[in-house]
């Protein structure tokens, strides 16, 4: 494995680890920053997959990939947990604000959305 390919894997892992740090406190601002970090990790991985690699350094590549996988699993769990927390929170809030529908579900909550337009 060439040094640059190895560096790309390591860079992707560092980006995911940093995203995990941000996800510890998943406020909207942190989530935005986290999304940018995950995008950069994905870009590093795409570059890594395209880069030529030597087979004799396969073990190093595997070790780095394993670390990356565990970081991605951590990020996935943190994202799911934060998502579940806010989804349940919204349901609680809906029930508090609008009560329940005839079917026993919390009333739909009107909330502001965000629109991202790219030129």
């Amino acid at each position: 494995m060439s040094a640059s390919a190895n560096e790309r894997l390591a860079a992707a892992r560092v980006a995911v680890d940093n995203a995990c740090q941000l996800l510890i406190s998943p406020t909207p601002i942190q989530m935005d920053r986290c999304a940018r970090l995950l995008e950069s990790a994905a870009a590093e991985l795409r570059s890594f997959l395209k880069s030529p690699r030597a087979s004799q350094t396969r073990a190093e590549e595997l070790a780095e990939t394993r670390s990356l996988v565990s970081s991605i699993v951590r990020a996935k769990c943190l994202l799911e947990s934060a998502g579940a927390f806010y989804a349940n929170w919204v349901r609680c809030l809906a029930a508090l604000c609008g009560g329940y529908t005839g079917h026993g579900q919390p009333a739909p909550l009107e909330r502001g959305g965000r629109l991202l337009a790219k030129g």
Binding site: S25, P26, C92
Partner: protein, 481 residues
Amino acid sequence: MANLLATLLNSSAALDVYDRVLEVTQSNVTNSSTPGYAKQSLRLEALPFDPAKGLPGGVTAGEMQSSRDEYAEQAVRRQTSQLGHEQQAATTLTALQGVFDISGEIGLPHALNQFFQAASAWGQAPGSTAARQTVIERAIDVAQNFRASATTLQNLTRDTETQFKNTVDQVNRLVGQIQQYNHFVQQSVSGPHDMGMDAQVHADLENLSELIDFNAVRQTDGTTTILLNGRVPLLVGEQQFPLSAQMAMPSAPSPINDNAPPFARLVASDGSDVTAQTTDGKLGALLDLRNRVLSSYIGDAYQPGSLNRMASQFADRVNEILTSGNISDGPPPVPGVPIFRCDATNATIAALTLTVDPTVTPDQLPLISPGPPYVGNGIPLALSQLSVPSDDADRIDGVSYSEFYGQMASKVGGLLKSAQGGTQVQQSLVAQAKNQRQQLSGVSLDEEAMILVEFQRAYQANSRFITVLDQLTQETIDILR
């Protein structure tokens, strides 16, 4: 004059209210690091104001409000419970991994290799008594290593059972503490809104969540109800329902191994078995490790355990090869004798009781395989063939004995890796849940500082107002004189 006095009284009452706000702020600041404490705030209410009707207005202190959010508390407890599970699994599995050495330089794999090599050396020097003696010595090593592994596993099982019992005691103790709080809350003059008690209850609930998965419900009278997995009551009001740890053999389906190690059972106060409902927390991990993981090696009521199966199958196969051979062709031919023996009455102690018959001498090891085909040194060759088996009879579960041992070791390694990874992930999830709770109900020192400054100014303004009113009142009295 009457209005002046009313305004004076009004301002003085406002000072009392501000005093209470500052007391609440002080309590928040001093408890900002207290485990279980949630930020408090005093609701201020405006009094009716209509000078025409003689209503002077003013402010009064309303109810004290707690920012505690039970949803966030429950999220922290759920994640803490899973962290407890992963941490306990990682600790026990680290000890278990120590039983299975995979380097091949010590322990059972090493002893097996040495035995196969000794058999091979005997095959190359069939007439050598020393080579036969070495085979017996290596067989003794194999038996000794099986016994050592079984003993270590047995000790680990015993430790796990002790930890299980201690953890149940800890659970009962913590629930007992919360039961005491329930009692105090009902007796307390401050009723269900005693914030100090509330903080202690929540701190204990968080400690409890590390041990066991439960649901805590705050009742309107201020008491806490605790249910194991939402079903089995552990605490209702002042009534505690203690759990107990038991070791018992199952009755249905009927056990195959009557003398097997019993299963660990968690029993509710009504005698019902709640083991299956306890999946998270340290207790859930200990039950899983004891009843599923360790049992898979040491055996239980329904299976002998992989280590015992390997020991008895290896011993049986070696004995079978030896007894199929002849020491001499005779006539009459003199057959070989078995060397391994173990307790045949209890399949779950095969490894623990595996020994080499001390009466066997090198001369009793057979060399000749009568066949067909007849092979002069067939028995040592057959023994050495066990290391790279070509016959199904020489395999266990379709693999060689060394590979089977490797599978046992890799199973522990896989579980340990998963538990270590899970611990890392859960630590992050607990930190995340605590952060979310902090945002909702934690004390922000910056926010408290702002409140402090705000009410300090209000207090100063009101004091100044009182001074002015006092002067006005004095002047009015002087005029009236």
